[in-house]
Symmetry: C2
Subunit: 516 residues, 2 copies
Amino acid sequence: MSQEPRKPSPLGDMSPEEFRRHAHETVDWIADYFAGISTYEVLSRARPGEIRNSLPLGAPSEGEPMRAILDDLDRVILPGITHWNHPGFFAYFANTGSGPGVLGEMICAALNVNGMLWKTSPAATELEEVVLDWLRQMLGLPKEFFGVVQDTASVSTMCALAAAREAVPGLNVREGGLGGSLASAPKGVPPALRIYTSVEAHSSVEKAAITLGLGHAGVRKIPVDEQFRMRPDALARAIDEDLGTGWKPFCVVATVGTTSTTSIDPVPEIAGICVRHGLWLHVDAAYGGAAALLPEMNHLLAGCDRADSLVINPHKWLFVPMDFSALYCKKPEVLRRAFSLVPEYLQTAEDAAVHNLMDYGVSLGRRFRALKFWMVLRYFGREGLVSRIREHIRLARMFTVWVEEHPDFELMAPVTMALVCFRARPRGSEEKISDSKIGGGAAASDLDALNERLINAVNGTGEAYLSQTRIRDRVAIRLSIGNIRTTESHVHRVWELLLTKLDDLGSPRSGTSTGS
Amino acid sequence: MSQEPRKPSPLGDMSPEEFRRHAHETVDWIADYFAGISTYEVLSRARPGEIRNSLPLGAPSEGEPMRAILDDLDRVILPGITHWNHPGFFAYFANTGSGPGVLGEMICAALNVNGMLWKTSPAATELEEVVLDWLRQMLGLPKEFFGVVQDTASVSTMCALAAAREAVPGLNVREGGLGGSLASAPKGVPPALRIYTSVEAHSSVEKAAITLGLGHAGVRKIPVDEQFRMRPDALARAIDEDLGTGWKPFCVVATVGTTSTTSIDPVPEIAGICVRHGLWLHVDAAYGGAAALLPEMNHLLAGCDRADSLVINPHKWLFVPMDFSALYCKKPEVLRRAFSLVPEYLQTAEDAAVHNLMDYGVSLGRRFRALKFWMVLRYFGREGLVSRIREHIRLARMFTVWVEEHPDFELMAPVTMALVCFRARPRGSEEKISDSKIGGGAAASDLDALNERLINAVNGTGEAYLSQTRIRDRVAIRLSIGNIRTTESHVHRVWELLLTKLDDLGSPRSGTSTGS
């Protein structure tokens, strides 16, 4: 990088030529980072406060040369990075900031348009409409689904539930709030609105309910079957029960690919129940929707054509950098009614002829997010995306067989897509429950403790990053394959690490790691 | 750009070397764009549907060469761009995707970390804490203010109001929702919560109230004085009135820099009223906070040390690319209680020792937004930011004098920062109200019509982009100076255009443009 001293101009931006020089340096930094990504330790070893303590207490008074800043990126920031772009990243839902996606973000930042109104950059609104329609077609969803980009699935789901609330007949939340009375209820008594979702659903459903003023009480969790899928019989019974005790059911959230185990709720049956009771059906396919791009997996979205709204996150498994969540809604006018407020200073002559996308969510300001998705879709093409997702699913199935065939491991949940939930259970071991508590306070077993130690041991190598969950109240290891750089060799390697580390840990001890 | 045909590899990402080549091309594209930004027409001339119609109906089946995609960027996308980075952008609140900010976005996209948990990239969480603390110091706010990044001010304000709602004594919204009863209210009757804000406040306050389940009815608009500032006497009276009629006041939103005119509410007096009644005080300084960086303008935040929460948007006037909104909260534990939900699969060993920033808002996934702000703060330095903001204020004052001294123009609101609200009022003209309606349906005057034509004429030149508002029910032109590239010559030029176009339009006619 250049060593020349910099005299910052007192006004204006970095000059275009200075930008050019530093941006070329930065591109080389990124290309080198991508080329050498496997040489980093996936999980940062930083201790709490370590990064903070290596930074100055206050902002510099005078500007500094970009060179110094980029040096600090290597020296101070990188040691605190957990490398999501590493092929050994198997935690949570692995994702990817792909090459074309990064190029899209570069251009987005340079244009820096605010797509709040159509007029404030027609291309931002129209490209968003177009790419979300392309994705809709790829998913096989009906034309009626109107798409709008939100930052994350949590926000998409909150917006969908706000629309569902707005759609409740006789309840005008927009005007009167939840204190407004249902036509059918005695005046002054609040409608006790209720959302139904499975015990395996994402926490964003409850977060949305809390935000929307329904509280935890406004969400009824429906039990699941042995494959962690919502039980339609239990759903129907819960709705009947609630109707009998004064609740007002208004919405069901089904999940195609739950976070813990990627279970798939029986959407067709659930949709039938929703139709019967006039309930809004929202489908959380934030993760699982991507798999439905495969012709052989499109059945994952069976019944979703009958949903009122659906969310899928291209920033999860479609190789789009964070953030990009696609919210589809069959009743965009309801979504609009839930959010649209147009003050004088935001009115334009084109309002009647166009969509102003600020009207379909909480955020007013909107980045030109469609650009990166457009570049990813075009660069890889539909077939390119399909073959990459198919390969991830193949790798997950391969790993599943290894787990199933090994006497010291067991599968903890069906593998529906590219997430494998499993645990070590050394042959001959019997599960002993100790008095110690871990996680949410559940009683820990010796196998829980062993598996936590195993995860930490594998993560401690720096070669892979696994996360964990609890399944049937036992610790399970989650291996999520979703980074575009992950190949068969990386999956082999993490399996090898699991075997080696399990061997190192020896047979399971009683008690937890802290208690022994 | 390179012409070589591309054979996309069936799996994996764009190779690092291919990324390097295309990213260098993209950097040159951006540097050329920055260098030639003044040659673009600020406001896109695209007609509704024009961009959409020039795009294919579906995604390509096979991947395409990046070259073709970047060519389409020029051919299809750019004509649909309204150039927010243009020095002649004076609409809304002008903003900037500055050089160091763009570099920050490039690195953010490449690292693509999800900072939902401290563990998922310690540097993302800790740098966010650090840069928001730097900004807090620069604003002169007390240490107690805990900062967290949201995407936009609308979301920051919604989060702040959710915390305010959570803080209402005796009301446990998180558990029972708004159907839960106030300790002091008869069981079953919903608490009629009320927020107070001025008639000039941003629409995001009402949007937040609607989202949170309070409805329009949950917001009481307080009248303003002749300088568009909330009247504390009217606020106090409204609260007393509401207390007498069964409402439960819980929150006041004051604004430092309203969107229409950048008026500044008297926060010290408002804070006193809030303390007296135990109300949460949220300050919307999304735009105006930046001006408070100037020692001579820091009085803008007088009284804000007594606020419970405050929002300022570095993506407005601190040269940070979209999106970046800083939410400060003096009671982070309340904000956390309003949003935190930690499922099993998101628990980590470090939870007690760190902040997991997903706990302080709706979004679970979080981009590494702190990086771009850190680079902007270091590259320009505090003094560099101050001198640029000071220059914008100087330019706005210069323009104000021109308006005041010209017999055919008049100022429509006091100029407090870098926004000038004015209109043409040719000498000798008297305001005639016609039967025609414009905008929100208010009766239009001949001067309204003249000023709308004037705005359109200036915007039609492609050299500048002005927006409009209504002040005391009359159309006003808004000139917002906030782009880092805007210099005295650009302000001279837009003034010249206004004079020339007014001259072209001749004396005011009766009726509106459509009616004449």
